[in-house]
């Protein structure tokens, strides 16, 4: 069996190639590369907007979305993030509605 696209590498193949290069499994390579992408997004935001937690959360969400779009992170991670955000907003909304 052989691949259709011969010698060209797709962006989704980068974790596999990275894992082969350093001698780790593809899943580990996907996690490491996803963390790198997230830190690239989030660290500058944390430095430039130190006290703006909302912006940190937005940038983290965007970074995770990029990793999922690249195929490096599983899709269910986005649903987990949506669940956490929904809980946070529900807490805030409950405070507003009940006045506590």
């Amino acid at each position: 069996m052989f691949q259709i696209h011969g010698d060209s590498m797709q962006i989704t193949d980068i974790p596999s190639a990275f894992g082969d290069f350093v001698g780790m499994s593809e899943i580990t390579a996907q996690i490491i590369l996803s963390v790198v992408i997230i830190l690239i997004f989030v660290l500058p935001t944390m430095y430039l907007a130190k006290s703006n937690t909302t912006l940190h959360i937005i940038m983290t969400f965007l970074a995770v979305t990029v990793c999922i779009g690249l195929g490096w992170a599983p899709f269910w991670l986005l649903i987990a993030l949506a669940s956490c955000m929904a809980m946070a907003w529900a807490f805030l909304g409950t405070k507003v509605v009940t006045g506590d």
Partner: protein, 233 residues
């Protein structure tokens, strides 16, 4: 008062979670995997596939030549019978959970745009193939929706006709679907699948963690409503 806070929290959590999940674009499943094929085929035949399942004639169950697989959020039965008919159908689940044996058959549309019906034969493959490869577009008989495409291919150097390749377990099949054709493109299906722990490509344990807060909220809301309707509690 705490019960009212809990009720408000549960309502808002369900509303926000549903809204966020419905806003997730379907393209975030990634660019899809490249299928491994035994014989090279023209890349154009695989255009638009983000997920695929491929098997050979040797993978068919002998007693009733069929191959069962899951793709794009549906469960499929593929038949290539000894009588020569080739059919493909997806399982119909009543209420999303109950399978009573019914299949939603697919119509094969040839590269020339001819509707070959729900059953084709090796003669059709030989007629439509170009150098041992042919792709049929699939459309549901019941709904008319597209369910991707099916590629048949064999090595014409070894076998001139597809029937010869089939007899020697050298006929290969590939069913591919694009993003828009997968079940999870339907957000309603995604939410129902989440609630019943049946989201495609998600481990069951992860599915439990994801949906436990939603079920807890639903159960709390029902309990609160019933409690409020009973004046003596």
């Amino acid at each position: 008062m705490a019960e009212y806070k809990g009720f408000a929290f549960a309502i808002m959590f369900i509303l926000f979670f549903s809204a966020l999940v419905t806003m997730i674009p379907t393209g975030l499943y990634g660019s899809g995997e490249e299928p491994d094929l035994v014989t090279p085929v023209e890349p154009i035949l695989l255009a638009g596939f983000s997920v695929s399942e491929n098997w050979s004639a040797g993978d068919l169950v002998e007693t009733n030549p069929q191959y069962e697989y899951s793709l794009g959020g549906w469960d499929w039965y593929f038949y290539h019978r000894a009588t020569g008919s080739i059919e493909l159908g997806s399982k119909i689940y009543w209420g999303g959970v109950l399978y009573l044996g019914q299949l939603d058959s697919q119509e094969f549309i040839s590269p020339g745009g001819e509707n070959k019906g729900y059953s084709i034969t090796c003669d059709d493959l030989d007629e439509d193939a170009d150098n041992g490869t042919v792709r049929y577009d699939l459309y549901s008989i019941s709904s008319g929706n597209s369910y991707g495409g099916m590629v048949f291919y064999w090595n014409t150097t070894a076998y001139t006709y597809s029937q010869d390749a089939f007899d020697n377990d050298a006929l290969y099949y590939l069913h591919g679907m694009g993003f828009n054709e997968q079940a999870t493109n339907n957000i309603g299906f995604l939410l129902v699948s989440l609630l019943f722990f049946q989201v495609p490509d998600v481990p069951a344990e992860i599915n439990v963690f994801l949906i436990t807060p939603t079920w807890a909220s639903i159960i709390y809301i029902l309990w609160f409503i019933i409690k409020e309707m009973i004046p003596f509690v």
